[in-house]
């Protein structure tokens, strides 16, 4: 991001950047950074908190008046991720005994996913490989892949399997958000998905199976966030 700051400054556009990784901000020598020790993925700190977000922006814009560049100021507040505290989102009861438990679970979460979809005016991160209607089918293919480690037999390639994993994660995280009465701390719903649901551990198994099958690291590693690698 600091590279872009330099390019824009050279084009005559003044910049101020929010930093999440202080060492990168230091290395690049862009003129103005507000370092925010906030969770990765939340550079403005607090979702659904306009007052806090506006304060962050004001602190950043205040650096435009500084002449002692390059300057990096630290936001006075630290907000940690909460990876080790999984959210306590309710999971649906078993509905179809003939379905794989993970598929049954995902279908049971559909009303929650739909509520979040409505709350966000239709905005969703699901849709790289398939929409919400395809999530059950994607999970079935992940179950096959967890058993045999053969991407082609599961109907994937190296790129689409990662994209499918992102779709499944997004579906669960958006459903989990609807099942929470507030926005939980960073990564709490992520950890809920990977450790408390039927489907999350299947993605762990897929990652391990692809690694054992000799697939490229970029494929199996990016099946999971590094925070969930075990």
């Amino acid at each position: 991001m600091g590279v872009l700051a330099r390019v824009l400054e050279e084009a005559g556009i003044a910049t101020v950047g929010l930093s999440l990784v202080r060492r990168q901000a230091e290395n690049i020598k862009a003129p103005r950074f507000l370092h925010c020790e906030f969770p990765l993925g939340r550079p403005l700190g607090k979702p659904r908190d306009p007052v806090f977000q506006t304060d962050v922006i004001r602190r950043a814009f205040a650096l435009l008046d500084r002449s002692d560049v390059p300057v990096i100021e630290d936001h006075p507040q630290v907000i940690d991720d909460e990876t080790e505290a999984p959210a306590t989102c309710a999971l649906p009861p078993r509905h179809d005994p003939d379905a794989h438990p993970a598929v049954d679970e995902a279908l049971g979460l559909r009303p929650a996913y739909n509520r979040q979809l409505a709350a966000s005016d239709g905005r969703t991160a699901v849709g790289r490989v398939g929409g919400a209607d395809e999530i059950g089918g994607l999970i079935e293919r992940m179950v096959v892949l967890a058993e045999n480690g053969d991407l082609a037999k599961a109907g994937f390639d190296a790129l689409s399997v990662r994209a499918a994993a992102q779709d499944i994660r997004a579906y669960y995280e958006e459903a989990g958000l609807a099942l929470s009465d507030h926005v939980p701390g960073a990564r709490r719903i992520e950890t809920w998905f990977y450790t408390r649901t039927e489907t999350g551990p299947i993605l762990h198994s897929v990652s391990h199976k692809l690694k054992a099958a000799g697939e490229d690291r970029s494929t199996w590693y990016y099946m999971l966030p590094s925070t969930q690698q075990r």
Binding site: V16, G41, R48
Partner: protein, 152 residues
């Protein structure tokens, strides 16, 4: 030690180009400035479901009136629930609109820009020499004189 601190340590080790000096553009008074967001979150407008891949140094243009944007970054290594709940925690377009309405900033650009961050050396060069200057032209054409840069 939090989970993020380990990632921060690793990302901090990504080699960056070395520069001797710091370019500085003059900013007009904030109350007169036209402001845009340039984010490295890997955002795309809805419906564009292309999967942003490593080494992709291109950028997307995000209409300022559009809130249906999707997080398309290739990396799974950051919290995504915050953005799902509120795009402003990454892409604070509503906050800028409010600040413009209150007279704190002069105006908000008609369009904003997204790249995908967490990139490596070869991509830095492309951003420095090609896609970065092209994005700057888009912003200059819109009369932008201040940019707020946000990571993911």
């Amino acid at each position: 030690m939090t989970a993020d601190s380990g990632i921060r340590a690793n990302v901090g080790e990504i080699p960056t180009p070395e520069f001797e000096s710091t370019p500085v553009a003059a900013a007009p008074p904030l109350a007169e400035a036209r402001v845009a967001i340039v984010t490295t979150a890997g955002l795309r407008v809805a419906g564009d479901v292309n999967y942003w891949q490593p080494t992709d140094a291109s950028f997307t243009v995000l209409p300022g009136s559009d809130r249906d944007v999707q997080l398309s970054h290739f990396s799974p290594n950051f919290d995504r629930v915050g953005f799902a709940a509120d795009i402003n925690v990454v892409y604070p377009v509503d906050r800028l609109d409010e600040m413009a309405a209150a007279g704190e900033i002069g105006s908000v650009a008609n369009q904003h820009i997204s790249f995908m961050g967490a990139q490596f050396d070869a991509t830095f060069s492309t951003m420095l020499l090609d896609s970065g200057p092209a994005a700057a032209r888009v912003l200059k054409d819109d009369g932008v004189d201040v940019v707020l840069l946000t990571p993911i």
